[in-house]
């Protein structure tokens, strides 16, 4: 036990050194960092392209059991459709590195999205993980809401039911809906941040 404990502490410290490097990171109530990524159709998207609109960033890995929960239940697609009708730009971002779980060739990603009938504006590929790390994306899903002024107003879990059970969707409080609806009504977004849940992003 002693050895296991010290090993765990040593690993944590080693990781801290790696993460000690200062890199620009997203912060709540601060301008969301711009990025440029290509989608699976080959089109390039920058966050600044959508200035003046609400933008949702959804970190995605279609092999994560937590992402499956929200796609197999239709929850994610319903949200995407509902807010697309309110002119919200919904961007899914896949930060799985090549060779890691959730990284697919574009053709495979298209096939999978068709199967799930995804309603996101675009599915962006971030295989080097640069955008994911800038935003501090840790899990799939991990959700971010950016207002028309480019301010990050919400970051965190999709809802308050950290499980893989599709039955939990109907009784969950959806934080992304809450954030968008509050922002539309000129009300403060609360909570502005929550701890995300899901599988780790496969950087």
């Amino acid at each position: 036990m002693k050895n296991a404990y010290f090993t765990a502490v040593a690993l944590a410290c080693a990781g801290a050194i790696v993460l000690g490097e200062k890199a620009p990171r997203a912060k709540i109530n601060a301008p969301a960092p711009n990025f440029t990524l290509r989608d699976i159709e080959g089109t390039t998207h920058s966050l600044t392209d959508y200035a003046g609109s609400y933008v949702v960033l959804e970190w995605i890995n279609l092999d994560s059991p937590f992402v499956k929960k929200h796609y197999n239940s239709g929850n994610m697609q319903r949200l995407q459709k509902k807010y697309a009708e309110k002119d919200v730009v919904w961007l899914a971002i896949n930060s799985s590195a090549k060779g890691k779980q959730g990284h697919f060739k574009n053709a495979d990603s298209k096939k999978r999205l068709r199967k799930h009938k995804g309603n996101q504006r675009a599915y962006l590929v971030d295989a080097k993980g640069k955008v994911g790390k800038t935003y501090g994306a840790k899990t799939t899903p991990h959700m971010f809401v950016i207002d028309p002024e480019g301010i990050l107003v919400y970051a965190g879990a999709i809802d308050n039911k950290p499980s893989t059970d599709t039955a939990d969707v109907k009784n969950a409080t959806n934080y992304v809906s809450a954030a968008l609806d509050a922002a539309f009504a000129d009300k403060p977004v609360k909570p502005g941040a929550t701890q995300p849940y899901g599988c780790s992003v496969k950087y």
């Binding site: 036990m1 002693k2 296991a4 404990y5 010290f6 765990a8 502490v9 690993l11 944590a12 410290c13 080693a14 990781g15 801290a16 050194i17 790696v18 993460l19 000690g20 990171r25 997203a26 912060k27 709540i28 109530n29 092999d63 994560s64 059991p65 937590f66 890691k100 779980q101 790390k133 501090g136 840790k138 899990t139 970051a155 965190g156 950290p162 499980s163 893989t164 059970d165 609360k190 909570p191 502005g192 941040a193 929550t194 701890q195 995300p196 849940y197 899901g198 599988c199 780790s200 992003v201 496969k202 950087y203």
Partner: protein, 287 residues
């Protein structure tokens, strides 16, 4: 057995894109129930150990899983009129994987629960079933659902049913790994820029603990992967932690475990901490 588990672990990695087969789930993690006594007395709490055995190199999670993962979900099925007490998790370890930190357990986790038997059973025996849903992870994660059942007989007279020495040892060891609820500590915290310092009165930490680490139970406040700095003076122990860049200052009290190693006892000790904002102290409290 070892080779079988290793083969199945490889298989699980290979099929992670499909729904995991139940047999693979069982090879990655199994749940067994143990009771502290083989018989029960209505109204008297009966301790139950929920033992999760994990395949080599796979882990599962504490009540705060950290950057990723999922806390175990435990559901009880008992005779009508019986009630369960809150389960108690052992002190976790810390796992780093590709820059993300998780809190949890490898090899084996023993979660202690207890039930209070009710009156009015129609039979002289009772069945307790525990359904667990856990997430087990290595490079990929697989949800594992398992059900374990134990049957108990009602106690007659003063007779105490014997339990195996091995079961007794299991309970003794599990209790040693629990947070020391009888030594829970009230601390205070202060925030300066992107750091949060938890200050613990030194006299509340009665045993000499080394390698102190704070495991936050309150979510959304800390940057789990950043290092912690521990300092001591004659009156206080201070743990300096990095705040999450996404922290919004909405937390009031902060809960967690201060975990350290007691070399004399060769034991890891976990002290429950509740830290209140330092500003609240100036309203009438004292350090």
């Amino acid at each position: 057995m070892g080779k079988t588990v290793a083969a199945l672990v490889l298989l699980a990695s290979a099929i992670c894109s499909r729904a995991p087969d139940h047999g693979v789930q069982k090879a990655l993690a199994g749940v067994t129930l143990y009771v502290a006594e083989q018989s029960f007395t209505p109204g008297k709490p009966l301790e139950i150990a929920i033992v999760i055995d994990l395949a080599e190199h796979w882990h599962t999670y504490w009540i705060n899983p950290g950057d990723a993962g999922m806390a175990p979900k435990i559901e009880w099925d008992m005779p009508r009129g019986w009630t369960e007490l809150p389960v108690r998790f052992p002190a976790p370890s810390r796992f780093m994987f590709e820059g993300l930190v998780s809190f949890g357990y490898e090899n084996r986790a023993v979660i202690l629960g207890a039930v209070i038997p009710g009156d009015g059973l129609q039979r002289d025996s009772a069945k307790i079933t525990v359904r667990t849903t856990i997430l087990v992870c290595k490079e990929s994660c697989i949800p594992v659902r398992d059900t374990a059942t134990v049957r108990l007989a009602i106690r007659r007279g003063q007779a105490v049913s014997a339990i195996h020495d091995e079961t007794k040892r299991l309970f003794d060891e599990a209790r040693r790994k629990l947070p020391r609820m009888d030594h829970s500590v009230t601390a205070y915290y202060s925030v300066l820029e992107d750091r949060l310092t938890i200050t613990v009165p030194r006299d509340s930490v009665t045993s000499p603990l080394r390698e102190l680490t704070f495991f936050p139970q309150t979510r959304g406040v800390f940057d789990y992967a950043a290092d912690q700095a521990v300092s001591r003076d004659s009156d206080h122990i201070a743990v300096d932690c990095a705040l999450s860049p996404l922290y919004t200052g909405e937390a009031s009290d902060i809960k967690g475990l201060l975990v350290g190693y007691n070399r004399q006892a060769d034991q890891v000790v976990a002290l429950p901490i509740r830290a209140i904002p330092e500003s609240n102290l100036s309203l009438g409290g004292s350090k």
